[in-house]
Point group: C2
Chain length 190, copies 2
């Protein structure tokens, strides 16, 4: 998505440790007019593929997942990172290792929110090593549901997570794929 | 909002400790078709009032805030509960006591995401004792910005937080106000 690449170049910042900071429009402060355009593009990318639910993980994935689900007219479900007193009943769990925070945490979804008949589009703000998406795919499989595909707003292509999922047979679309970040400059894939 | 009251009666569950569980349509699993209607109603309730940004707190407030901000065509900002390695620069902090989790946590917003010229609509999924909203109001004030108003999807009227904020002069709208919960049944205000 050309407009997203331009926005990343204009408003994003590369921090030490390959961290791409896009909080000013993509996560902590969300440009909702642009968010709607990204949701429309996601709908276009998955045209013809049945999607009954959009699944993401809290917290920074929720805005994009909400916009995509609104565009598709289906429910949005998010996995929690911290089991909460408000979530009763049985849950699906999957462990996820975070390179950003150098720790493993569980993601959890109440069993009642995913049915075996569901065709799930998994979305997230970032796709890097793919650990969060793998955890979400694991939860969809535990529920006996089908993965319709995966879509990230920004993929860090050089970290390989997206390509590994593609090689495993999943339809993985990213609205922008960063091929490399060198000396603070950003190069997009092809 | 009559449709929300009906949905709460139909799909909500009252758990011990005055917990109203509406995860099936309002937070963990979000009915996005209905979410759009709630966002439209929120826009109507704040018609004629200038809003330049919508502010909420992660995680369950994000879906509603995103939908309201999309409806108003303004950015959405969310406060973080856990300071993250990805948030650089200075932040506004405010301590919030959670009755649900019986603990005090800091909420934080990067200073760059709120300007003194902003007119902020503060939204959340729930308004009970009002501690989260008070923390968000505190952050708006620290930024020198103006509170345009507050809007919750569901207010627990009997916990007094909304009325205290109204008495303090804030425009507080809630799409549904639960006046009491007794023996598993729900009574709405008005």
């Amino acid at each position: 998505m050309k407009a997203l690449e331009e926005k990343i170049l204009k408003e994003g910042t590369v921090l030490p440790g390959d961290v791409l900071k896009v909080g000013s429009f993509l996560n902590q402060r969300v440009d909702t007019v642009f968010l709607k355009k990204m949701a429309e593009e996601t709908k276009r990318l998955f045209e013809g593929i049945e999607v009954t639910k959009v699944l993401t993980v809290e917290a920074s994935g929720i805005a994009f997942a909400t916009a995509v689900a609104m565009e598709l007219g289906v429910p949005m479900v998010f996995a929690k990172k911290h089991p909460s007193a408000n979530v009763s009943g049985e849950q699906y769990f999957s462990p996820v290792y975070s390179f950003t925070h150098k720790t493993t945490y569980d993601i959890a979804v109440s069993k009642e929110y995913i049915q075996p008949t569901d065709k799930i589009l998994i979305t997230d703000d970032f796709l890097a090593n793919g650990n969060a998406l793998k955890g979400l795919i694991d939860i969809v499989k535990q529920a006996g549901a089908k993965v319709a595909g995966c879509c990230a707003e920004i993929e860090k292509g050089f970290q390989g997570g997206g390509d590994a999922l593609r090689a495993a047979g999943y339809k993985v679309e990213s609205l922008a794929i960063v091929e490399k970040m060198e000396n603070g400059s950003i190069v997009f894939r092809g």
